[in-house]
Amino acid sequence: MQDQHRWLSTGILLLGLFDLLGCVGMKPTTTTTGPGGDINSLNHIIILAQENRSLDHYFGYMRAYWAANGIPDQSFDGLPQFNPTSGIAPLQGPAPTNPGCDPTNPDGPDICTPNANYPVSSFHMQSVCTEELSPFWNESHEDWNADFFYPSTVSPLLNGFVKSAANDARQYTAAPVNDINGYRAMGYFQDSELNYYYHMATQFATSDRWFSPVMTRTQLNRMYLVAATSQGYAYPIGSNSADQTQLTATTIFEELQNAGITWKIYVNADNTNCATMTGDEQSACLLQGYSYLNQFSYEQTILNSAGQSPDLLQNIVPMTQFSSDVQNGTLPQVALIEPPSIEGLDEHPSDNDQYPENVQTGASYVAGLINGLMNSPSWKDSALILTYDEAGGFYDHVPPQTAVVPDQYSYPIDLQPTDQCDGANQSSGICSFGMTGFRVPMIVISPFAKKNFVSHTVYDYTAILTLIEKRFGVSALTNRDKSQADMSADFFDFTNIPWATPPSNPPAQNTSGNCSTASPVPNAVPGTGR
């Protein structure tokens, strides 16, 4: 306790020094602590989007966890089989299923032909490492409806997750994937695997209506994360002749820079070619190679500012600086932590069975960041929002929601012939950018986060941009972030500061789970006959 106290004093001293030395030319921002504050009490917003997990897949077991641990029940729309039989809605329902692959392979062994006579039921994942699935545009639309064919078959049946996962294994993976029947799409984790996240989601504020912004894969969702648009792209830049150029959309960082708000992007440099570099050279290396900001032409602006004033490259820093910034009170006003993918700590399913990726080591890494923040002088006026870039092809029982089209690109400009929705040319609905992706997990970790809170308001995570814009007085980037509900009025309580003292003993994240991508399923999967 004494040690912690000394840390705090040192931190405050350093913070004071920083205030004296830095921030020249910056817009003054209010630092209000103590009861009676408002959103301006929040001085540091930290975004951490890990990779590829759906809400049901991670937190579907939440109410059973609460029941088993004597935590008072409240509404949380997880997997229906874990809802109580009476009390607060939603109430218990049957475990969801998806049609499995017809074992006679009527369309050939390369194709999973879904057949309702072979259902695959939601099951407890037996391995903390999972094989790759595909959350791409086509597969996401087939997840939504296994027979997706615009315009004839587009209603949301959420019955294609197994099919997509099976076909990914059968057709697309460079390394062999064992699970050619796609069972893994229906697997979920419990608090036994994700004890830290279950605990923190319960203590702090979470949501059961938090969606990824667009029904396709990582790169595009991460464009939305910082710019609230993918400017018409459904594929990553350079996938085909229609999507060669970087996005010209304004990113939140450019907007913050122009407003004099400090920002940083923390990028993991370990085991990269940038590791041994320093200064601007390292920043340029990290930006170009390992930050998703490299999808924007703003990357060029940053690179061109090397040695200029301001030198924007100084905002791109190695992840090692995060803990020192946290401890020294030198966090910027807005921070983005890029997922540590090179290190295999981004919680993504394994690209290759030879190098299995473990959700527990990823969660343990995140726990380290969160615990470090909670035990630092930066805690008092910070919020870390943990979420996932997209649902990764894992089953979720809530369909994507209609949303506001961000900009003039209402429909993808880079679909390939025969792609799902190619030729549909919609300005709203399932083939347009007027639709979110699937639900993803989220937790707001902050002294201002409400205790034991579950939001039921529909958001996609461009709402984080909306929160930043509100706090720092900058304008919406597109119609998408403009249309989001106000997180500050929902997840936060700036008056009472619920977690002024952070929870004292968060559990250490388990890391001893069975990691075996070869057997993602129990010996008998309900309904599969195996």
Binding site: E51, N52, N105, P106, D107, G108, P109, D110, I111, E132, S134, F136, N138, E142, F149, Y150, S152, Q171, Y172, T173, A174, R217, T218, Q219, P236, I237, G238, S239, N240, S241, Q244, T245, Q246, H348, D351, L415, Q416, P417, T418, D419, Q420, D422, G423
Partner: protein, 458 residues
């Protein structure tokens, strides 16, 4: 000046079966074109974006040598895809006369200058003092070059039976070579040529030129590290059958940075009486290497200079195994571009047994070498098909506008179940494939390129 006798074209063909000296006629025009260094727009060796700065602009104005069927210069002669930006192969056997009627369709003066062949001053095709008649052909004008393949033009003892030489424009050579006015000459030893000039002891010849095209006065965005004018695996057509004797003619050209080391994965070659898998090339170099294509697969072929690899000086070649068993179905034809409502594929039972059920896989070419699997790629039939019977399979289509971007549909059987309970399954991906091309003059491909699958997905 016309000291060489000129034979009628028919006589050339007749006389060629014997090892008599013949005259070989070529009709070649210099033409301004728009050249795309990577028509697929992507790095086809790992299905990733072509990095900046090259991705900023891939298509540039170039000038090329283009071959025609006769001196009306109306019908182009289709050259192998793998020649890329190079002009046509000019072939000869030692002793032959080579007559090239050259038409300059460019916007400035050009000419044609051969390496290795014997010419006189008028036929040198190079602008310097003292002038010769063929040293600068004005735009819209023609010149007929007469070149001779003498003993010095052909292989010496110990060399392979055919060797390669450059030809290129030489009015303002640095600019013209960089523009693309370059091509190969292959001369076969006396008595070792087939009637078309190719060597009898070789099953297949390829020409690969390693040269950096500079489009922006040295700026990185304009430096294209190309093999035959293509970067990042976009060079098409390097197919060979397992067991073939394959000859690679390698050419270097360019500037001080054009120090290249051509490297094959998957095979070794014999070059300059040594076994190697790397051949050194300098600007102007001409080398010939022999390969026995005995290792089936798709293999990388690239420059081993690191900056050049980074810049895309790489291609893939494919050694395909022979088809050793009969195919269960034949792909008769397809209605794949003209119907907005549906796609149709007509197949025929090519076996001697009634088929009970079958599944076909379809894939699409979006550019040469750019093979992808569409989202709904399966075609199946659950109706009986008698031996020899044709059947048309149908699928709903999306908008035809978009479908027109598909340059070819590849089909191959995924599974065939016969009435007698036996089953045919492919032994390798694409076995028994057929490509139906949008443009009827598209050359057939003997094997499918690797399907574009991302190595690391997110």
């Amino acid at each position: 000046m016309k000291i060489f006798p000129i034979f009628a074209l028919g006589l050339v063909c007749l006389s060629a079966r014997a090892s008599l000296a013949v005259t070989r006629h070529y009709y070649i025009a210099a033409e301004d074109v728009n050249w795309n260094f990577a028509p697929s727009g992507i790095n086809l060796l790992n299905a990733t974006p072509i990095r900046q700065p090259w991705s900023l602009k891939l298509q540039w104005p170039k000038t090329r040598f283009v071959e025609y069927t006769d001196n009306t210069f109306t019908v182009r002669k289709r050259q192998p895809d793998w020649l890329g930006i190079l002009g046509p192969i000019i072939r000869g056997e030692v002793g032959d006369e080579i007559v090239v009627e050259f038409l300059n369709r460019g916007h400035v003066g050009h000419d044609m200058h051969p390496h290795g062949l014997r010419y006189d001053k008028d036929n040198e095709g190079s602008l310097y003092l003292p002038f010769g008649k063929g040293d600068r052909v004005a735009p819209g004008h023609r010149f007929v070059y007469h070149w001779f393949a003498n003993a010095g033009s052909g292989p010496q003892p110990g060399q392979p039976s055919s060797i390669v030489w450059w030809y290129h424009a030489h009015v303002d050579p640095a600019i013209e070579i960089n523009a693309g006015l370059i091509g190969p000459i292959i001369i076969t030893a006396k008595g070792k040529a087939r009637s078309d000039g190719s060597p009898k002891d070789v099953d297949r010849e390829f020409v690969a030129s390693f040269m950096i095209f500079d489009q922006m006065a040295g700026k990185p965005a304009g430096l294209f590290y190309a093999i035959n004018g293509f970067i990042f695996g976009n060079l098409p057509g390097l197919y060979m059958k397992q067991g073939e004797r394959v000859r690679w003619h390698l050419l270097g050209m360019g500037n001080e940075i054009d120090v290249h080391t051509a490297h094959w994965h998957g095979e070794t070659v014999v070059e300059s009486m040594r076994s190697t898998d790397v051949v050194e090339l300098l600007p102007g170099s001409m080398r010939t290497a022999d390969m026995i294509a005995d290792n089936p697969g798709t293999w990388m072929f690239h420059c081993h200079v690191e900056d050049h690899m980074e810049g895309g000086m790489m291609a893939a070649y494919t050694i395909y195994p022979p088809q050793t068993r009969s195919c269960p179905v034949e792909f008769v034809n397809g209605d794949l571009w003209n119907n907005e409502e549906k796609l149709a594929l007509t197949i025929k039972n090519a076996s001697h047994k009634p088929i009970r059920q079958l599944a076909i896989t379809s894939e699409i070419f979006l550019a040469p070498q750019d093979l992808r699997r569409p989202s709904d790629f399966g075609w199946s039939s659950k109706a009986a098909i008698a031996p020899g019977e044709e059947k048309t399979l149908e699928k709903p289509a999306t908008q035809s506008e978009s479908m027109k971007k598909i340059i070819g549909w590849a089909f191959f059987p995924a599974m065939v179940k016969y009435e007698d309970g036996t089953e045919w399954l492919p032994q390798r991906e694409g076995e028994c494939f057929k490509v139906i091309w949008r443009d009827s003059d598209h050359p057939e491909v003997p094997a499918l390129p690797p399907r574009q699958i991302e190595i690391n997905a997110d």
